[in-house]
């Protein structure tokens, strides 16, 4: 068994301005939804999420606390988070500006937000079905 792992506990990155301004804009507009993508990314860096099954079960667990109405709202918000991240990443790509510290993080947030968005209809459906049985 290999006991050496890439465990990241301390927040010690110094990001470039491109990340800081993108992150700030996303956080101010979509505090909870954007923070969830960041939270899941941190769990990945800490090796607490190591594959797509882990990621999906974490998403299910975190979104499982909301009722149908709240989930519909979340679906809209995650759609906007995903679009905004895609737009930002495309702009950086077009300007050939992808080497700044934080670009990979934004890419990862986009992947996570997209996964959440993809799963939301199913989670919403499950919630509605289980609600109607009660």
């Amino acid at each position: 068994m290999n006991i050496e792992g890439l465990i990241k506990n301390m927040p010690n990155e110094i990001f470039d301005d491109e990340y800081v301004s993108s992150n700030h804009a996303l956080f101010e507009l979509y505090k909870e939804e954007y923070s969830l993508a960041k939270y899941l990314r941190k769990k990945m860096l800490a090796a607490e999420i190591v594959n797509s099954e882990d990621l999906e079960s974490n998403i299910r667990e975190e979104l499982g606390i909301y009722d149908g109405g709240a989930l519909l709202f979340k679906q809209n918000q995650f759609g906007e988070v995903t679009d905004m991240l895609a737009m930002m990443l495309n702009t950086f790509d077009e300007k050939n500006n992808t080497n700044f510290n934080g670009y990979t993080e934004l890419e990862q947030y986009h992947t996570i937000a997209s996964t959440i968005l993809k799963m939301l209809p199913e989670i919403l459906m499950e919630k509605m079905i289980s609600g109607s049985k009660n």
Binding site: M1, D16, K31
Partner: protein
């Protein structure tokens, strides 16, 4: 160092891997680490575990300024156990036991070997202060690493009889095992947060029961800069407007952390805005404000908006 000391350690071909001198006692210590290791299981690689002790003893973690050695060790015990507990928040008892067993066994054996080595070096080379100091530091860190692992085991209901099987010299000293949170000293020194909360018993997330844990929003679970949770609510007064409101346990925990984090946000220099650390503190604080605004607007108005 005596004039014939070279005869004791400088054997041809015997070079120390970890020390600048080649005393026989040091070489014997190194051979012992190698011989204890299980070549088929790198969980029991003693030189690997010793490398952590060595590194901790020579890094900034060794700053004992203005602290008794007991306090220094107790703070490290708390820190090691806290790190393990946060990392293993949701794992099963079996997984936790599998994780902590090699640490107790290896740190325990290394701690005993360092005590023995330190005594020998003090007797044989009483003037080699550099080496004696280093070994003393390693002794403190091996003790802290061992009892940090033991604290984690005890928190997770691993029986003391089992711990004794892993480390037969286990000293069941409650003060040592309990450890001390290093942050408390800072909070008291700078009078951060309300006194009643500052001096009250606070809990780490892994010390909460399942229903208490379930209440906590995801963004308030794992931050590096969170200063504990309460198990009971209380009446809180904003001294600036002399208005009071009763907060439940979660709201009290959020408000306490908001006050602590606000102190840091206010005092961090602007040049730190690009640091992940600053971003994490700022965002957690904003999420707390947002929580009160949405979930308890009266508390938001009394305690936060009019701050």
């Amino acid at each position: 160092m005596g004039i014939f000391d070279f005869l004791k350690g400088e054997k041809k071909g015997n070079k120390s891997k970890y020390f600048d001198v080649n005393y026989e006692e040091l070489l014997s210590f190194e051979r012992k680490l190698d011989s204890l290791s299980d070549p088929d299981d790198n969980l029991y690689d003693y030189p690997y575990w010793y490398s952590f002790i060595k590194e901790r003893a020579t890094s900034g973690w060794s700053d004992k300024t203005n602290k008794s050695e007991d306090q220094f060790v107790q703070e490290l015990v708390f820190g090691h156990s806290d790190e393990y507990s946060k990392r293993f928040l949701t794992e099963t008892l079996e997984e936790k036991s599998f994780f902590i067993q090699p640490r107790i066994i290896c740190y325990g054996a290394i701690h005993d070997l360092i005590i023995e080595l330190k005594n020998k070096i003090q007797n044989e080379y009483p003037n080699d202060h550099t080496l004696i100091n280093r070994l003393h530091n390693e002794y403190l860190h091996s003790k802290a690493s061992l009892y940090g692992a033991i604290k984690f085991a005890i928190i997770n209901n691993i029986k003391k009889e089992q711990i004794k099987k892993w480390y037969s010299n286990f000293n069941d000293d409650q003060t040592l095992i309990q450890g001390v949170s290093p942050i408390q000293e800072v909070l008291e020194k700078y009078l951060i947060g309300d006194e009643e909360d500052r001096m009250a018993n606070r809990y780490e997330i892994y010390e909460l029961n399942e229903s208490e844990k379930q209440e906590i929003p995801f963004w308030f679970r794992k931050g590096t800069f969170l200063y504990g949770y309460f198990k009971k609510g209380r009446q809180v007064t904003n001294k600036a407007n002399n208005k009071s409101i009763k907060l439940n346990r979660l709201e009290r925990s959020l408000y306490w952390n908001f006050k602590c984090l606000s102190s840091f946000v206010e005092n961090l220099p602007e040049k730190m805005n690009n640091h992940e650390l600053y971003i994490e503190i700022y965002e957690t604080n904003e999420l707390i404000k947002n929580y009160f605004e949405e979930q308890n607007s009266e508390a938001y108005s009394i305690l936060i908006k009019e701050l």
